[in-house]
Structures are given as structure tokens and as C-alpha cells.
């Protein structure tokens, strides 16, 4: 029989608010409202994942959604994912262009390196490029040494920045998996916003540190008054953006096995409620996460088209990129 140490019943972080200092505790309905440009009630933010799942992927420390499944070589899953980058993405682009919607493409650096013409199409469509790590087999996770993660982020941005045709300002980790230091390293690399956390409907401020980060959560998870570890200074901070896991084609259609009509209804019901909840002085964000290898299949794309037709029929919808939303939000923070 094992036994627990005496300090198992000590609660050093038992206090008002969060059990860490990464961000403050606030409630959505008590915040000062944000007014979107043009008096819009809803900022429509669509992110489209452009992903590459290597044939030899190791799936460590876990298999991300969409990983290879069968014995090597798993041509079945490799090619079905790659379908998104050559066929599915263009159905998504067409569906958005019909309404003049520009998306934020969340791009694995490997996609930019492998398919330069796809990134050209993304730029020509006026889409924003946000970084989605190196590829779907390079996950950020708690056991990743800080120096390795710093190098991984640098390598990713070194490839994506020239491909983006402008600054890369947003970060989405592959599979939304982070280490304790990911927000710090992403901010340190000069990015402005992070899309991994799913705890809000609106942007919020995230605290970061910079310097000689250790491999423990100590640099942000600490009891009040303990100060920072040696060599660590406050960082430039990040904006956490409400990039969803539930309003996501993979979650609804693949994981939950819901129908195309269910997916369309999820989008339109989400929109209808946010639209009622919002006012020009207190806007909301309607965020949709898409994967072209899922929604870009012939039998599924109609669900997105129908939902967008419903949303764009309304007045006061501002279709924007993540960076545009971040800028509008930031300008109104005291």
C-alpha cells in the first residue's frame, strides 16, 4: 500500500481567483463591453487548419486528432488528411469568398514548405496566417525541454513568416497542446495572440514571463508574494483568443458523428444566441474552427455554405481575421 505525503492536504493556492497567475479571474457578463468597428454586434472569426500528418508519425506524447492509425505505411489516413490541402481547402475558400469572408489560416510550417502554391492562394484570398507549429507530429507538451520548445517555435516562424506575406501574429499549438512555458515562448517570439485555451467567448489578457525559464510551472504558478525565479522578467503578454474546440467540424462531424445538418444547426444556433446577446456596445465573437480534410468533403461542404448564408444575411456581422479582432479589442482596454 502506498501512502500520501502529509502535504497532500495543504492548499497553498487556495485563494480568490485562479490557482495560477497566467490570467485574472473575470466573468464574461461583468466586463465592460467591446464595440466592434462599424457598430457590428458580431465579429465572425473563421480559422481554417492547414495540417500535415507525416506518414511516419510517432504520436508522442499522444496521438493528435487525425493521426495515423494503422500499421506503417498508413496510406489510408495519410492521403485522407492530405485531401484537405489539395481539394477540400478550395471548397472552403470558395464558400467564404462568396461572402467576402477572410479567414485566419492556422498553418503547420511543413504545409508552407511542402505546398508553396497553397500559401500563395491563402495570401491572395487576403487571409491571415497564424502559426500552427511545425507539423502534426511535433506536439508541445509538459515534458518538452524549454530550449527545445524555443527552437521549435523559432523554426516554425522562420518558415511561416516569409510564407505569410506579412507578420505572423497568432499561435495555435498542434492539438491545442502546450507545455507550461508555451505562452511565454510564443510571446517572447514576438507573437500577439494565442488560440489554445477554450475558457472564454471573448479575448482576455494573458501574462507571460521571459528569460531563463525553467522546466517547471514555477515561473507562473506560485503563491502570492513569492516573487519570480532568478533571471525571469515580466514578458510582453499575450491576448488569449476564443478559438473553439466544440464549434469545430472535427469535433462535431468526426468525433461526435453528428450529421451535416447538425453541424449547420450548431453554427446557426450559436450565431443566433450570440446575436441576441450582443449589442453594438457589447459585441461578441462567433468563432468557427474548420479542417478542410473534414468539412471539404463533397457531402459536407453544403453545411458550411448554408450556415454562412444564414449568418451573413444579418446586419452587423463583421467578418474579420484574428489579428483584426485582437487589435479592435486591445484598443478598448484601459
Amino acid at each position: 500500500m502506498s501512502s500520501l505525503p502529509a502535504d497532500y492536504l495543504e492548499y497553498p493556492l487556495r485563494r480568490h481567483g485562479m490557482d495560477h497567475d497566467r490570467y485574472d479571474w473575470t466573468q464574461l457578463h461583468q466586463r465592460r463591453g467591446v464595440a466592434w468597428p462599424g457598430g457590428a454586434r458580431i465579429a465572425l472569426w473563421i480559422t481554417v487548419a492547414l495540417e500535415w500528418f507525416p506518414l511516419d508519425m510517432k504520436g508522442q506524447p499522444f496521438k493528435p486528432p487525425g493521426a495515423m492509425q494503422t500499421a506503417y505505411p498508413d496510406l489510408r489516413h495519410y492521403t485522407l488528411r492530405d485531401y484537405g490541402n489539395r481539394v477540400g481547402i478550395y471548397r472552403v475558400m470558395q464558400a467564404l469568398q462568396r461572402h467576402g469572408i477572410r479567414a485566419s489560416a492556422a498553418v503547420n510550417a511543413a504545409v508552407a514548405a511542402r505546398y508553396p502554391s497553397l500559401l500563395r492562394d491563402v495570401r491572395e484570398a487576403g487571409w491571415e496566417v497564424i502559426a500552427k507549429g511545425l507539423d502534426m507530429d511535433h506536439l508541445h507538451h509538459g515534458a518538452l525541454p524549454v530550449e527545445e520548445e524555443r527552437a521549435l517555435i523559432a523554426r516554425t516562424l522562420e518558415i511561416l513568416r516569409p510564407a505569410a506575406g506579412g507578420a505572423v501574429r497568432g499561435w495555435l499549438s498542434p492539438a491545442k497542446s502546450e507545455s507550461h512555458a508555451t505562452p511565454d515562448l510564443v510571446a517572447e517570439a514576438g507573437l500577439d495572440y494565442l488560440c489554445d485555451w477554450v475558457n472564454d467567448d471573448m479575448p482576455y489578457a494573458m501574462r507571460t514571463v521571459t528569460g531563463a525559464l525553467g522546466n517547471t510551472p514555477a515561473h507562473y504558478q506560485q503563491a502570492p508574494g513569492h516573487g519570480s525565479p532568478a533571471g525571469v522578467q515580466p514578458g510582453r503578454g499575450l491576448v488569449a483568443m476564443p478559438h473553439p474546440i466544440d464549434l469545430d467540424d472535427h469535433t462535431i462531424l468526426v468525433q461526435n458523428h453528428h450529421t451535416e445538418d447538425d453541424f449547420r444547426n450548431a453554427l446557426t444556433d450559436q450565431f443566433d444566441l450570440l446575436y441576441r446577446e450582443a449589442t453594438p456596445a457589447d459585441g461578441r465573437i462567433m468563432a468557427i474552427a474548420l479542417h478542410p480534410w473534414v468539412i471539404g468533403q463533397p457531402y459536407r461542404i453544403g453545411a458550411l455554405e448554408e450556415a454562412l448564408a444564414h449568418i451573413m444575411r444579418h446586419r452587423g456581422v463583421w467578418a474579420a481575421t484574428g489579428a483584426e479582432i485582437v487589435d479592435a479589442w486591445k484598443a478598448q482596454q484601459a
Binding site: L55, A71, R76
Partner: protein
């Protein structure tokens, strides 16, 4: 191990040569029944266990055997009523085990292509000589029992070595159904020979639909119609391919048949649909479009 199989270059959907199907059809439509034999006690491949349960897995074995005893005939008659020929994805040992089924398909003018010897003999870990023997067995068995030349390939249970597609092309086959990256045929880069990838959609495959995505029969019918509607609409500009891959042990269950037949009837009653076989689509593509597609494709850059 390779990071990229290297079988195709990048060819974005909007920047391709236009495909023209015979008769100006928008969609080349084909149905691919997988007529399979699973062994009760197959030898073990270290990469994959044949059955989910310890041998004898009576439930899973008999679940599949149902297809040959009962389901096939129901599926066959449904297709006959819609005037749809099948392109049989054949475990060639079926020619010895159940020649009655093979004769019926041959008499109806169906194509036979290879799905390996048994669906319980996997290609992983085979030597090149063993793999060549499997392909040669398919060529010989299909020729001897049906008189047909073997042109197409879908690896047994979707199992491979890195060289499978190279060997298939080298031994004279002209198409494979093993790549799921597209809604049009495309060139496959192989060491020798001319090989096309013909779309064989896993999303439309009754095994995936029923046993992975867990949908109901009427919903399967709805999915088939939605898939067709989109490919038909897009086919106005350049020909597309729609495939329905089937398994008699799944689609041949009485409660699943009506919804399938309704969708099949919906598709086959449209104007501008080429009711084809895999071989016919491959021949047309290889003759008229293969070279142009290969020339239009962009090289894939090195991944970091």
C-alpha cells in the same frame, strides 16, 4: 520509414487540366463491391492481428461470412435493378472457395480487380518476392477463372509495404484504389509503368460509414446523395469521380438495402452520369489525361 509516401505531386483543385468523360458526362460513377474471404485461422502477421478476439473469433468470422452466404445476392439484385455493373474488389481465393459468386458477377459483365488473396493475409513485412507472388497469384487466378486481365488493385485490408504500388505497376496493372487524396483520378509516381489513382472514397465506404462513423442506413443513403449532388455540380466544369465501395456483409443486411437502393437509383437515373467500371475510368484517364495531369503537378517541397 518515409515521412511522405512520395506517390504524387501537388495538384491544387482549381489549377488542373479539364477532364472530359465519354459522352460529356459530369461524373464517372462506379460501384466497388469488396467480395472477400476471411480465414478462420490465418497465420499471424506481426504487424496486425487478424481478429479482435482470441481464435476462434466466431462472431467476427461469421459476421463477414454472412456476405457470401446471404448478403451478396441481395446487393447483386439491387445493382441489377439499377443497371449498375460492379467492379469487384476481389480476394482472389474466392475463386476457389465460392466460384458460384464469381460466375454470377462475370455473367453480369462485372470487372474483377485484386484485393489480395485473402483479407486475412496482410502485405506488411513481406519480402519483395512474396509480394510479387501475391500479385502474380491475383493475375493468374483472375485470368483463369474469369478470362479477364487484371488491371486494378486495392491492397488486402489496406495493408502495404513501401514498394507495393511500384510492384503493382511494374507487373502491368494500370490503376490503384489505395490513395484517398482526391475526387479525380491522378498519376501515381512509380518506378516503372503507367499507374493511375482512381478515387475510391473511404467516406462513402459502407464499412467506414457503418462501423467507424456508426450511422444509420437512411443516413447513409442521404450521405451518398449529398456526395453525388456536389460532385455532379462540380463535374459541369471538369469531370469528377464518385465511387461507392461496398461489402455484402454490411450492405446486404435486409434493413440496410432499401435506403442504399434508393440512393443508387437516384444517382443512376441522372443524365450526364457515366456508369463505369474502375478499368474503364482508368483507361480513359490514362489515355487522355494522365500526361497532362503529370505535367501540371507541382513538386512538393521538403518538410522541415
Amino acid at each position: 520509414m518515409k515521412r511522405d509516401p512520395g506517390f504524387y505531386d501537388h495538384l491544387p483543385w482549381p489549377r488542373r487540366p479539364v477532364i472530359r468523360w465519354p459522352g460529356g458526362a459530369r461524373v464517372a460513377f462506379w460501384v466497388a463491391p469488396n467480395i472477400e474471404f476471411y480465414e478462420l485461422n490465418p497465420p499471424r502477421n506481426p504487424s496486425r492481428a487478424p481478429w479482435a478476439r482470441p481464435a476462434p473469433d466466431v462472431l467476427n468470422y461469421s459476421y463477414r461470412d454472412y456476405g457470401n452466404r446471404a448478403g451478396f445476392w441481395r446487393m447483386f439484385e439491387s445493382m441489377q435493378r439499377c443497371g449498375m455493373r460492379g467492379s469487384v474488389s476481389l480476394n482472389v481465393a474466392m475463386c476457389q472457395h465460392h466460384p458460384e459468386i464469381i460466375r454470377e458477377c462475370a455473367a453480369a459483365g462485372w470487372e474483377f480487380y485484386s484485393h489480395g488473396t485473402y483479407n486475412t493475409r496482410y502485405l506488411m513485412n513481406m519480402t519483395e518476392a512474396q509480394e510479387r507472388a501475391v500479385i502474380q497469384d491475383s493475375i493468374d487466378t483472375i485470368r483463369d477463372h474469369t478470362g479477364q486481365r487484371l488491371d486494378g488493385w486495392l491492397a488486402p485490408a489496406l495493408t502495404y509495404t513501401e514498394r507495393t504500388l511500384d510492384l503493382v505497376a511494374e507487373m502491368g496493372l494500370s490503376y490503384v484504389c489505395d490513395l484517398f487524396h482526391d475526387d479525380q483520378p491522378g498519376p501515381v509516381k512509380v518506378r516503372q509503368g503507367t499507374l493511375a489513382s482512381i478515387p475510391y472514397s473511404l467516406e462513402m465506404n459502407d464499412t467506414i460509414v457503418y462501423n467507424v462513423n456508426l450511422v444509420s442506413p437512411r443516413r447513409y443513403g442521404d450521405i451518398l446523395k449529398r456526395q453525388f449532388d456536389r460532385l455532379y455540380a462540380e463535374g459541369e466544369h471538369s469531370g469528377t469521380v464518385m465511387c461507392i465501395p461496398l461489402h455484402p456483409y454490411l450492405i446486404g443486411l435486409p434493413y440496410r438495402l432499401a435506403a442504399f437502393e434508393e440512393a443508387l437509383s437516384y444517382i443512376t437515373s441522372h443524365e450526364g452520369v457515366w456508369l463505369a467500371t474502375g478499368r474503364e475510368i482508368a483507361q480513359h484517364f490514362n489515355t487522355h489525361h494522365h500526361a497532362a495531369f503529370a505535367a501540371a503537378a507541382e513538386p512538393i517541397g521538403d518538410a522541415p
